[in-house]
Symmetry: C5
Subunit: 358 residues, 5 copies
């Protein structure tokens, strides 16, 4: 089951700005890639020594430095030093349990958000930290594997506007890719909800309840990841014009719309999941009602006629008194007794029919 | 069942501003109509070549270009180019899963909203995209069939103010027609709610639950379509005066009031539908209670007297001991036994009457 | 049952500002009264020809023109023309499904609100449209019968301030009378709630549920009528000083306080009605519990002892084997069997007593 | 049961500003006390003729005029006239169903709030109306008996700051005493909640439900009394500096904090009371479950073995056919039958143990 | 069970600003420590006479005076006098039931918040009062034992920035330590939730309900402690620049983010705990359903066949009439009867299988 809370005990008590990796993947290899482009050319390479990316800061082309492994304190620190990044920002990059936020520093913009990717039958969240400077975008991921391949393709092939525009448009493209990823997750969840909904009306089982429960948790997680994004995009739009140019702002308005759409959809899903629980309970009550009706019909028909049979199973001695069960010696006693029983049974059935139980 | 989420996987990963149709009706024919009018005359024609509408931009009369088929990327692109529309706007027109919104661009106003139409026994939502320029209104619909016929009639016959006023009043007339359509949907839903409500109190069945469930979904969909409209109308009212003239603003205030009324009604309906679920559950509990009472009454009357019959069905040998069931040999043993049973039954009935169960 | 939604299909598709009566009382007679007063004198008369009220506009005295029958399109139109009222305002007067609102036009103030009157055992809502000009108040009601008699009396007798002050104070007096009417409705509802509450704790029946259900609907209706009033009064207070004089504003603050009080009370009532439903359900569960306990006690006492009786009703042949039911031939077999049964019954009773079921 | 709504029919239809007593205590004696003090001396006396307090207005010392009996229209009117109080204010003093509020008039400040006092096992609410002028505080109570004794003591003995400061500090002291009274009520309610909570988990009865119900009503009443106080204190803090001096404002900030604390606590209590209802329902379900289990265990053990006994109670004639119940004539038929029954019973018990029912 | 409300009756009625200890630990020893540091040196000592800390006020180094025992009225008063602290502030320090708040006074800043520490299996809340002057931080705790040891270590060893910066940074460090403490509590609660969640799905018992109940209370308490903190931090950030230097503000933004994260997590936990209650109720209903099914299956199979056995247990005399139970004398009467019973039983089983009950 998805854990809703990332432990951070390890780092408690340390001085603020201390970089201690909060991730468990400490041993995993780290991949650093650099894509450097302008209108005319693209240069893409894998970086082994972090110092190799340092010159990017002073070129005129747009540089995108992507680090797959934000737990590598040394790399983050080295990059941070080179790009004059505040130590609290570096701390936020390394400790990947941040709430999405956008912070405006002197000369750069720091954006944290959650990238969601759909795995087998659940989605997976990962913190993406982005730093936008005049002509560079630094992106830090927890693990290799991301939703940025379409952006890379567009840079390589020169499709769309990305090569014509600056680092701010690159930031926009990355955010847009992340938000597009949310839509994929929503689609998957929408499928799950539709399936569950049908199951609910057809044949709900305790497993259905577990599935609803699970869905609810996913909703809570999703909401936590996406809600703050609205403020993040607003903050980017309000940030100083030196970094986000006027022509790019309209694109952030577009992401803002998408974010609102995602949030609306999550809220609607939440409403539906809550409704599902009500339906589940109603359907349980319905089933119980049906079970009770069957029991009641069977019992109320047979209990009285079994009593009649019980009467004539009594052993009162006819020899001792003519008052003792003379029916037993009547010519048509037995058929009469059966007839009485049949009458009672039919009467009960008519009664239940009137009550609309059968 | 209504799907709450329009899939958009097809377009993920494409550069922003790329026009890929999100609709399935790709093969359907497209209808373009042009209505061009001023105070003195009306010209209405069906357009086959998109280029035929281009001159409208430069005339003094008001032109309404309506495209039934927003999935036709080529047409949208051609019109967009001619009217200098931003590529993000064109993208929003083609991908018909937008949240209602109003965006103010240089020289034109872009409005997206949902047009609802009542079909057989459900309503149908369709995205309407409207572009208002100085003297033109461009409207894009997903499918043929709309709520604008009264507006067309008024233009043709010159009833009302529409021919006296500009393109902004035409935009108002179209929005007004869409909001009027909401009232039709609300009326139908109101009928459904009244009917369900009566059914609930008379004889609720599991089908009633499904109907409530369905109503709830419709509410969620409706809300999603209408809520953002409030901000949309506000945004239009606040937009630059070049496009919306002062004299027309009072009319938008009128639409605003209608929108608030629609939203209020939806909220009230929601309250009622939630209340219906509670009533349904209470009524289930009531029924269960009644079933249980019948069972309990029958069982608690017959179980003790069946036991009495059972006693005298025992085979203890009177020959071996005078202690063994002497009652069987009494003169009035059988009538006495029947009397005891009758007493028990009557006692139980009195007890239940006291408890107000019968 | 109260309908929550007034149909308006008739008027859909008409040009805005078209006056088509939304009311069904089209044939009913219309009553127009004029009260014209200043500090020294009062003139009150019934008007037959609408033209007779036209001179009021130009006098110095305060005139109150009351029309009982806002569905009479011709009258509304004639008055509207004379007093230079916008056609959208006239439309709102005729179509009596408006949300309470206050609109500030050039030279006059337009206020719509709901007047509630308690009938047999439900209240009745009616739209009141008020137009305040420099020295006139025009009031439009749907039907004869209103809550304004105390105001009329005060004008006639010169009690209170009304004769000393202008048309704005008259508007205040009318609004005050309407809000006072809300308190009457709240009192009646409060009585209903108290009665239901007692019934709930004493002996809830399915009728109680219906009553709660009905109360809830009344609450929704009431809320819908009163909530917007807060903004209405605020808007009047903020309106241009030419119409509402400074000395009158403090009185509107008083109405504002009353409105808040009404809204608070409605919210509290809502809370209580929701609580009643919970209590109803709990009380159903309690009853079910009691029914089940009775059944269980009777059944669990008699089922085992009936079994014992069943044992000794078996026909195993003692002649064929001494192992076959020797108890039947014991001297104290029967008393012993009865004793065993008594023991079982007492044991069960002790067990239930321990469980605190009896 | 606490009535949530004070009837006011008596005064409906009267001209605004008319003083008609809304209280029933019309015949009760009225107590007027005057405390007049400055740094050096205190003068305290009981007033018989209202005119005796009139000179206070023009002295330099601080005067506190307290009227126990706001229903005495004549007194309120006389004081109002002397202190130039608006007739709407006087109306609010007499009609004691006001929502707490603070109104800023020329030359005086008018504050209404609710004083809560804990009685036998419920609290009692009373309206306190306060008028602050330059050097006087007028307080109006519905009944004798209040929470102001500590303030009186402090004035008499000169403890604390009250004698050093002006009428504004006296107003603060009175408000502070009222808010302190809320804490007493909260403590009592807190005790009730703790007690109920324990009862709920130990042995909930229908009485527990009534108690929760009652608590909920108290919460609603409390909330209604306290919520508006926040705005009241804010309004006092924002009021014109002539009446509330700068040095006193910090004290009102203190009351503001206390009010927030009271509101927070009420909200927490509400949460807990709602939670209690859930617990109550769960606990009912738990009990029902237990009852059902006992019934099911007894029934499912004995029904099958009673059937076995029933089989061998049949009277098929062994004389007529060897196929007819040969078991009855077997040597160990009876022990075998008993053995089969025992086996069935043990099997059932094992089954229930596995299901963890016993 | 955690008490949600700290009694304060003792202090009611006292003049504002009176210092009466609200705590019960009146007899406990009090520990005062002073840490005095600048960039070059640290001086740490235990204080016996409160006068020993007085000189700190006038030095240039940063002084942190920590008092473990805010109930010691004399100490608080002495310190308050020396540092010119308002008597209301001193009152708030002594009465440890304050809502977290930040108050800006002339020359110092007063901050109250709750320090949470995890004990055995519950957390413990304690009020921390902090006063920040130009170069001093005064901290008051209710009891010895706190979360500040890491801060002390950092001061002693000179790790991090704390020694380089002023008293404002020390205040930040203390607040940061407190907020870090919240994360520890959240982690523990997260563990409890996960454990309960598993228990809920596996085997819920009434104890589970109690545990959920307890968790809910902890949530309410936690929320009450943390919610106001958001405003507190905002208020600190907005406070006058003389106390909080510009360079330190960015650190408070960091705490603000953490606080938002804590609040978000609490809200998510709350959602989950509410969901747990629903799951618990559903799971109870499921269990009841299962119990009812077992009962119904057993009863409906055996009741009819027991009736058949009852029929043939009747004693109608075959000697008196050939109509009286001739079956008893048939050759295969007994096997036929058994066959009929088997048929009925199998029929029932098939029926239940179809209903998917077994």
């Amino acid at each position: 089951m998805r854990s809703l809370f990332k432990k951070r005990s390890k780092m408690l008590g340390l001085p603020p700005g201390t970089l201690v990796s909060g991730a468990e993947q400490a041993g995993e290899p780290v991949l650093i890639t650099l894509i450097d482009y302008d209108k005319t050319q693209v240069r893409e390479k894998r970086i082994d020594r972090i110092e190799d990316v340092f010159p990017c800061k002073d070129t005129n082309s747009v540089s995108w430095i992507n680090v797959d492994g934000s737990h590598r304190v040394d790399l983050v620190e080295a990059l941070g030093k080179r790009f004059d990044v505040h130590s609290l920002v570096l701390e936020d990059i390394v400790h990947t349990h941040q709430r999405p936020k956008c912070e405006d520093y002197d000369g750069y913009l720091f954006v944290v958000l959650k990238m969601l990717q759909w795995g087998e039958n659940d989605f997976d969240g990962e913190q993406i930290s982005l730093i936008l400077t005049q002509n560079c975008v630094l992106s830090f991921q927890e693990r290799p594997g991301d939703v940025f391949d379409p952006v890379r393709d567009r840079i390589r092939t020169g499709k769309g506007r990305v090569r014509q525009m600056g680092a701010d448009y690159l930031l926009y493209s990355l955010l847009d890719a992340v938000v597009d990823g949310y839509f994929v997750v929503l689609e998957k969840l929408s499928d799950t909800i539709e399936a569950l909904d049908e199951e609910l009306l057809d044949n709900p089982t305790p497993q259905t309840l577990h599935a609803i429960h699970r869905l609810k948790r996913q909703m809570i997680f999703l909401r936590k990841s996406v809600w703050p994004l609205r403020e993040v995009i607003s903050a980017i739009q309000r940030s100083e014009p030196a970094l986000i140019r006027k022509g790019t702002r309209v694109f952030f308005r577009d992401i803002y719309d998408h974010t609102i759409q995602v949030i609306d959809t999550i809220e609607n899903f939440r409403d539906m999941v809550i409704g599902m629980l009500d339906t589940y309970l109603s359907s349980l009550s319905n089933k119980m009602n049906e079970v009770m009706k069957v029991l009641t019909i069977i019992a109320t028909i047979f209990i009285p006629i079994t009593f009649v049979a019980g009467i004539y199973g009594m052993n009162f001695e006819g020899k001792d008194s003519v008052w003792n069960m003379p029916e037993l010696r009547w010519r048509y006693g037995y058929p009469a007794a059966l007839g009485v029983m049949a009458l009672i049974a039919v009467g009960m059935l008519v009664y239940f029919r009137r009550k609309k139980w059968i």
